[in-house]
């Protein structure tokens, strides 16, 4: 039985004193990475506030003043090409190189743990600053004008907020409906898949292997075609997508449930059965309530994956009111011949997935700390 070990109120700090040299190496590394990131962002912010009309240089590269959003695009390009930007990146490289060389060369000779860690941290931050600056310099040496024009046009995005929000909502709707359907299918499949009898088990395993072994995009396309032409049922693409997502998620959820049930100690079933419970009663009152807690994190992970996979419905073609995030950006692209919505879409997905990922981590942490046997026990 897991018993929680009480955390001491505060652990004594035994890392020892610091000294000016390691501290300044750390400061140099931190400054290098901060200059690269904050400097670059700062220059762009300055451009947003103080940038003028479209410059001749931009005009020459096809950013004509009459185009929608040309001014904003030109600001970004001019910012990237500015001398200040060159100084920022070169400064990042020089400072970073100093911190990296000093930290790397000296960390073994440091007398205390704190000083050693400061040297190492300074060196690592320095290397990161060099890498980031070099990458950005390399990027700038290419054809940045068409790239920025195609993906960072704020005015193209400005008019599409409603569509963007509707896209987020529809993405969540699609994924949530698919997940709920998938959990129901998965529970049924798991019960069949853990059967001792091969005749019961076989069809479930065939199903699970098929849906885990073929691409989701193929399933969307093919199952929609089967329903439409094979069964002759006029089905909305949104409904078909929910159905296929459910079928697909069902296969993965079944494996999650099966693993969860099989992770419960054998003694639990034995205890229940030896009290005279039937197999079904043992599952229902002893095993499943314990397994459910263990499968919450992996099921939520499946949900996060499904949220991203909703992008694949683009192959079915949704009606306008059902556009999810990816279809939305694709439509904006068609309308404006501009891909800025693709960039916005990434943030849309992150806005949904990052909180979920945080929740998964928190739940996992709670499960691992062994508190769930005590807290929130019901049923």
């Amino acid at each position: 039985m897991a018993t929680a070990v009480a955390e001491p109120a505060s652990r004594p700090d035994t890392r020892g004193p610091t000294a000016p040299l390691p501290l300044s190496l750390f400061a140099a590394g931190a400054a290098a990475i901060a200059i690269v990131i904050l400097g670059t962002l700062g220059i762009q912010a300055y451009q947003v506030v103080n940038g003028g009309p479209v410059t001749p240089a931009c005009e020459a590269e096809g950013i004509e003043a009459r185009l929608l959003g040309a001014e904003g695009v030109c600001h970004i390009i001019e910012g990237i090409r500015s001398r200040a930007q060159t100084v920022v990146w070169l400064l990042g490289i020089v400072l970073g190189a100093g911190a990296a060389a000093g930290g790397w060369g000296l960390y073994k000779r440091m007398p205390s743990k704190r000083q050693r860690e400061q040297c190492i941290a300074g060196a690592v931050l320095g290397v990161q600053a060099i890498a980031l600056s070099a990458l950005l310099l390399w990027f700038r040496s290419g054809e940045i004008a068409p790239f920025i024009r195609n993906f960072f046009n704020a005015e193209v995005l400005a008019g599409t907020i409603d569509g963007f929000l509707r896209g987020m909502l529809n993405t969540v709707k699609l994924a949530f409906a698919g997940e709920v359907g998938g959990i129901m299918i998965g529970l049924l499949l798991a019960v069949l898949a853990i059967s001792q009898r091969r005749t019961v088990r076989a069809p479930a395993l065939v199903y699970i292997n098929f849906f885990r072994g073929t691409p989701l995009i193929w399933q969307l396309f093919f199952i929609y075609a089967i329903i439409l032409f094979g069964f002759g049922i006029q089905i909305e693409t949104f409904t078909a997508a929910v159905l296929v997502f459910s079928l697909n998620t069902g296969a993965y959820a079944a494996e999650v449930f099966r693993a969860g049930i099989q992770s419960i100690e054998r003694g639990q079933v034995e205890a229940a059965r030896s009290l005279g419970m039937t197999y079904t009663q043992a599952m229902r009152y002893a095993i499943v309530p314990q397994a459910v807690r263990r499968v919450i994190p992996p099921l939520m992970n499946e949900f996060v994956i499904l949220i991203k996979d909703t992008a694949l419905v683009i192959v079915l073609g949704l009606t306008a009111e059902n556009y999810e995030l990816y279809t939305f950006s694709r439509e904006v692209y068609s309308e404006f011949s501009n891909g800025s919505a693709f960039v916005a879409t990434a943030f849309g997905y992150l806005a949904i997935t990052l909180p979920l990922i945080r929740i998964v981590n928190a739940v996992e942490h709670r499960l691992r700390s062994g508190l769930t046997g005590v807290v929130g026990a019901g049923g």
Binding site: R273, G276, Q281, G373
Partner: protein, 246 residues
């Protein structure tokens, strides 16, 4: 009850686990009121033997009779038989998501179909019997090993079984917690419960047991009154076993 007064009867019981022949022809008759203690080296089949009595292990060959009924017959409702045979495990096997009281009540409600009130009453009665009336709302994770094992005993006793099986119930306990569990078992024996006990506690075997069985290599090689058997062991393997554990 059986015409010959026996509660449990094993006839030529064999058990194979894959290629391992664990039980090699066990014949054993247990009378009601007996406290049968089974000892033996690890791997000698003593736990398997115990677990065939309530069919947690199904014999590969042979018959098991309980209360005159052949329970190895495929037509026997094994769930009904198991209500009458309590078992306590080495690793407690309490349901961790349920409190001590809920652990005891679960089968009373779901198997015996008692009302909530009746189940509650019987659960509290059994918990007081093992000295844990005040721990009814505690979860297994909040109890010591000895307390958990006493809850497990209460859970089994609440079904009012005719027979209690104990499978190395003190082996997973810290030394200072062994006594409280053994005392509970002794009390149960004094009340006349029929018990089959697999254990390494030779003191318990001598003091509480009415019959001692020594298994080795899947067979019963020594069987008799504990004090006599300890005093005058016949089988060579039993002698050497005793010299190691005493």
């Amino acid at each position: 009850m059986n015409p010959d007064g026996s509660l449990v009867k094993l006839e030529n019981v064999h058990k194979w686990f894959g290629p391992n022949h664990v039980l090699r022809g066990i014949d054993l008759t247990i009378q009601a009121g007996n406290v049968v203690v089974i000892v033996g080296p690890s791997g000698s089949g003593k736990s398997t033997l115990l677990r065939t009595i309530n069919l947690l292990e199904e014999p590969t060959e042979g018959r098991v009779l309980f209360d005159g009924e052949e329970i190895t017959d495929i037509r026997t409702d094994v769930n009904k038989v198991r209500r009458e045979i309590g078992i306590v495990f080495q690793s407690f096997n309490l349901f961790p998501h349920k409190s001590a009281k809920e652990n005891v009540k679960l089968a009373l409600e779901k198997v015996l179909r008692l009302s909530d009130g009746e189940a509650e009453e019987r659960a509290m009665e059994q918990l007081s019997h093992v000295g844990l009336a005040q721990k009814g709302d505690a979860y297994p994770g909040q109890l010591s090993g000895g307390q958990q094992q006493r809850v497990a005993i209460a859970r089994a006793l609440a079904m009012k079984p005719k027979l209690m099986l104990f499978d190395e119930v003190t082996s997973a306990l810290d030394p200072e917690l062994v006594k409280e569990v053994l005392d509970t078992m002794k009390k149960l024996a004094d009340e006349g419960m029929t018990m089959v006990v697999v254990t390494h506690e030779m003191g318990f075997a001598r003091e509480v047991g009415t019959r001692l069985i020594f298994t080795d290599g899947g067979k019963i090689v020594e069987d008799g009154n504990p004090s006599e058997v300890f005093q005058n062991p016949k089988d060579e393997r039993f002698k050497s076993f005793l010299s190691h554990v005493l």
